[in-house]
């Protein structure tokens, strides 16, 4: 129980740190981007041809853009940490409203990719690990090494071309329901599957060579009994611990894959916002993605706590 509180507390600190770093960078972005902020906001609000100096001044006064930088920064961060993400410069709608639907799309993509990876990776990894040095092990691990070397955008590119050639259909957007989810999820999940296959394989090999496995055999358990009772849990511990690390790659992958497949998620929104120099949207989307990483990390913490009694002490 004490451990649980400590771990969640740690993740909460991480969440606040994330909000701090992202909002600091976005504030710097707002200051350093070329052009007058107030004028740009006024242009977006009233249209390019109808904007006047007076309108820009009104915006400046409204948003407090004439105050000293330090004050603006404190104000900016205070709003971010309290959850007020502001309004999009492009659409004028609150950032949170814009992000809400995209969050669902991103969660679906990340969830599908993770599911796919956890379905494929550990199974192949465990099969390889049960006979270390055997044919399945060597072939499987060579394949895993190759898949880890292929960047996700190359996988995406190949899948895209392949899909176009085979079905005459360009897999972009979410027009075809779960079918259009499959390719981006596969793109995102393959690398993770390859890595988790490797970790699962090593975990199984380590468990099979452990003194406690040898002891279970000496007690008289058959190999199958000993494997079923002593390998899965012990091999799961390093796998889950590694997943925590690879979630950072998953989130990075979300940005790239959503852009490639025009998947209407937060990653796509982030790249769009950068192109449009829409700082509140940049901040909102970057923050959401980073917080998603914190959430995933917290979930792996809990899973580890569940699987490994040593961590409960």
């Amino acid at each position: 129980m004490g451990r649980l509180v400590a771990i969640l507390g740690q993740r909460l600190v991480q969440a606040v740190t994330v909000a701090f770093v992202v909002s600091l960078l976005c504030f710097a972005l707002a200051q350093l981007l070329p052009g007058d902020q107030a004028l740009q906001i006024a242009q977006r609000r009233y249209g390019d041809d109808r904007v006047t100096t007076a309108a820009a001044e009104a915006v400046r006064a409204e948003l407090g853009l004439e105050r000293p930088l330090a004050l603006q920064l404190i104000d900016w961060m205070g709003r971010t940490v309290s959850g007020d993400l502001g309004r999009s410069l492009v659409s004028g709608a609150p950032v949170w409203e814009e992000i809400r639907d995209q969050l669902g799309a991103t969660l679906a993509l990340a969830g599908a990719a993770l599911g796919l990876a956890l379905l494929l990776g550990p199974v192949f990894g465990a099969l390889a690990g049960l006979r270390p040095g055997g044919l399945a092990d060597r072939a499987g691990m060579a394949a895993a090494a190759a898949f880890r070397a292929v960047p996700n955008f190359v996988v995406g590119l190949l899948l895209m071309v392949g899909c176009t050639v085979l079905f005459g259909w360009l897999p972009v957007g979410d027009s075809r329901g779960w079918l259009s989810l499959l390719l981006p999820a596969l793109t995102l999940g393959l690398g993770l599957a390859a890595t988790s296959a490797r970790i699962a394989r090593d975990g199984v090999v380590a468990a099979l060579r452990s003194p406690f496995f040898a002891f279970a055999r000496m007690k008289g358990l058959s190999r199958a009994e000993a494997i079923l009772r002593h390998v899965p849990r012990n091999a799961a511990v390093p796998l889950i611990a590694y997943l925590a690390v690879s979630f950072a790659f998953l989130i990075e992958g979300v940005v790239v894959v959503e852009e490639i497949f025009a998947w209407p998620g937060i990653g796509h929104a982030l790249t769009h916002a950068i192109e449009g120099r829409d700082v509140p949207m940049i901040q909102g989307t970057a923050l959401m993605l980073s917080l998603l990483l914190v959430l995933l990390n917290a979930l792996t913490d809990l899973a580890l706590l569940l699987v490994d009694p040593r961590r409960r002490a």
Binding site: R138, A149, V150, V205, V255, L270, I274, I282, A286, V294
Partner: protein, 267 residues
Amino acid sequence: MRRAASLAENGTWWAPWIGGSLVGIVVLAALLGPLVVGADPNRQDLAHVLMGPSREALLGTDQLGRSVLARLVYAARLSLSLGAMAVAAAAIPGIALGLAAAFAGGWTDRLVSSLADAILAVPGLILVLLIAALAPGAFWPLFLGLSLIQWVEWFRMTRAASRSALASPAVEAARLLGFGPWHILYRHVLPDLLPLFGILGAFGLGSAVLSLSALGFIGFGLRPPTPEWGSMMVEMLPYWNEAPLALLMPPLCLLTLILGLQILARR
């Protein structure tokens, strides 16, 4: 059986040679390619677009009639030099701060460690994107962003390995025998760190090159017409039917380099 198992685990004697040659091919292409190929990677020839291999352009031409081979080797030069610079810019402060934190402990350690945690809390590519947004298409924000996310790894690994070396009985015995920090650094700490640096260097170069190409692919890389593998892929994507070779070559180059570096880093 036993031997096979131990080989599978420790890698084989020839693995580093394969990794080395894969990386070597790309490095050689980057160093000598521009001299041998001779063609200007940015010279457009709209009369000869999307051509197959010819004497002038051994791997054909792209949608603007530029030599694909010339663009590939210049892109290799760009990726490797940006990657190497980012790794160097990350390694030097990372190692120095890691050693300082391990040797000094206390507040120095806590301060630098929490700075590293703060940077690590945000996914690396997002951090680079935010910094790159400052000056789209420019070289320095990419370089800055990549070094910024990489020094953390150098710092953390150096700190962890140094701390465990410093906690060893060998260092305690050396201190009792009157040896100073410099002797301990070079006799007990650095020998443990050097193999680690090799792995981190190969891994860091790989991820820097990969990030650069990923950014190029999604349109946040260097300003066109700079030849870069990621942006070359995306430019050629619409012409996959007419010029498949021009589309496949950039990912192939990237794959060769990444696979080689991965084998060298034993990941």
